[in-house]
Symmetry: C2
Subunit: 329 residues, 2 copies
């Protein structure tokens, strides 16, 4: 798989350098380049810090800014950042109200963020929210529970807005944990992804195959199926989401269609329209939507659908002003 890069070993650093240069009005490197931070911190606000492996851009760095994150730590491709990076981010962005760590549910990420929190004991008050929204990896499939995927954007946006208005650390933790059970995502891939370091495709799909229930690190999906029309694809990924979410009493459903990196806008919007129609057939009308490329798996072709059943209060936070490299409203 060809890729615009100089070498696997410099891909992440060179991409981050470009990202920071492109958005220098909003973000800057912190900790001698070990993380990216908001240029202007807000004294007395809880510091919201996230991070994870590279290869998921614009997550997380694209969501740094007013109303979302204060800092993001990036590891190598599909590899957790180190505790050292995370601690450096806490040291530089904690302005007195403590730090909330937003972590996707993967062993390496959870371990390294936990280790950083332990190292910070006595220096920072720290809480952690683990995002677990993937409908394809429930406890019956995976011992560690659901993976964190595109729903991470929902958690970062809603907690970011709440932190910005002055919510304290324990309220933010409770808010984040409350979201997990009312949010599910599911993805489909039309083409696997090649990790730059080993140049081997993580799973190979034939010209008439697709993979349903994929993760964002080239993990195989729940099952492989014959390539189908978009209506059928959308049904295959939306059905488990709705089935798992159970009774849809929520006032405010939020619908996200997310491209995995190799999928163009024409297909994302088409899938959004069909997802909306499928949801309507099951009695769900999104109160607000987001369509685009937010949580990628390098250049994997495919997309995910996320449905979050927000309360009125959470919905107001979703709609609160935000100014980041990716989201602005």
């Amino acid at each position: 798989m060809k890729r615009i890069m100089n070498a696997p070993g410099t891909l992440v650093a060179e991409s981050l350098a470009g990202f920071v240069a492109a958005h220098e009005d909003l973000v800057a490197f912190g900790g001698e380049g070990r993380f990216v931070r908001r240029r202007a911190l807000v004294p007395g606000k809880v510091a919201l810090i996230s991070g994870g492996g590279a290869g998921h851009e614009p997550l997380h760095c694209g969501f740094i800014g007013q109303g979302m994150l204060d800092a993001a730590c990036t590891g190598h491709v599909f590899t957790s950042p180190t505790p050292d990076q995370i601690l450096a981010a806490m040291d530089e962005t904690d302005t007195g109200a403590g730090c909330l760590l937003v972590v996707k549910n993967y062993d390496g990420d959870v371990m390294n963020f936990e280790m950083a929190a332990e190292m910070a004991a006595g220096r920072h008050r720290v809480e952690m929210v683990v995002v677990e929204d993937d409908a394809a990896s429930g406890p019956s499939v995976r011992s560690r529970g659901r993976r964190g995927v595109a729903g991470t954007v929902v958690v970062e946006k809603i907690l970011g807005a709440a932190a910005e208005r002055g919510d304290d650390l324990s309220s933010l933790k409770a808010l984040g944990e409350g979201l997990s059970g009312r949010m599910r995502s599911m993805g489909v891939a039309l083409r696997g992804v090649t990790v730059p370091d080993n140049a081997r495709e993580t799973f190979a799909l034939g010209p008439e195959e697709m993979e349903i229930g994929v993760g964002i690190h080239g993990e195989p999906g729940l099952y492989r199926a014959r390539m189908a029309g978009a209506d059928e694809i959308v049904r295959l990924i939306c059905e488990p989401i709705l089935d798992q979410l159970g009774p849809l009493a929520s006032a405010r459903p939020l619908l996200i269609v997310n491209g995995f990196g190799g999928t163009p806008p024409i297909e994302l919007h088409l899938a959004y329209g069909l997802a909306r129609r499928y949801l309507a057939g099951r009695g769900v009308a999104p109160a607000r939507s987001l369509v685009g490329t937010f949580v990628t798996s390098l250049d994997m072709a495919g997309l995910s659908v996320t449905l979050a059943l927000l309360s009125e209060a959470e919905f107001a936070l979703w709609c609160a002003p935000v100014a980041t490299p990716v989201l602005a409203w």
Copy 2:
């Protein structure tokens, strides 16, 4: 090439329907579905109308809204909209100050927009600006002159801001025509593009090949080269841009790195960082930048770089507030 769609014949209509549904706060269908328009028109403002073939999303519909377009007409994939569509858009969005048509320089587009302008004679005052920014298709290569590619976004943004502040039709035309000579783009493809209707790849590249100087409809490039590192790729596409723009006396260079649809953010930001370094080596420092997926060629892998040498006045218009599905600042 697999694609998330139901059928080639419904791809464009279903995608547009999804787009309008996703952004219903800003846009709506006009003329019984023949075009997409700004939901709230501004009486007495020149109507800014653009359009072209589908397959370039988010161009043009993604740039409808305050500070940019009033309407956009979409044809079939890589095919001009019909004069009938364009006339309908004029009829519905001309609020008295006339219509300015922004057209990319392709025979079909220019012909159909010209025909629509003729049909509108006596009903609307109409002017046209033809965008010609592609550095790979100068008059020596192509009888009709340079193709319009990603620089179209620059023209739509700057004319949009000027229309919004009340500039009249002839001033807008002069402003748009003044931009063309100070703006160049050049693209590279790592993988060709398959047109849904015939399922045939427009140009096929081997695993070690890239195509330099490509257009946005699967046109072959200026030449094929052996796949190279990102520094070399960036040099190959930035060098002709700078050479053609000539003396860089401009106060305000604008740099755009645009993905063609199949290129993930990690690669776009990497290319942006390297483009910026290459420009610095030639004495050019961008005053502002834009990195993302704006003008696509379906899911083609690759990207283009655009450099626009703006005057102070044009730069102020670039920075003016904008609220569209894609750009918001």
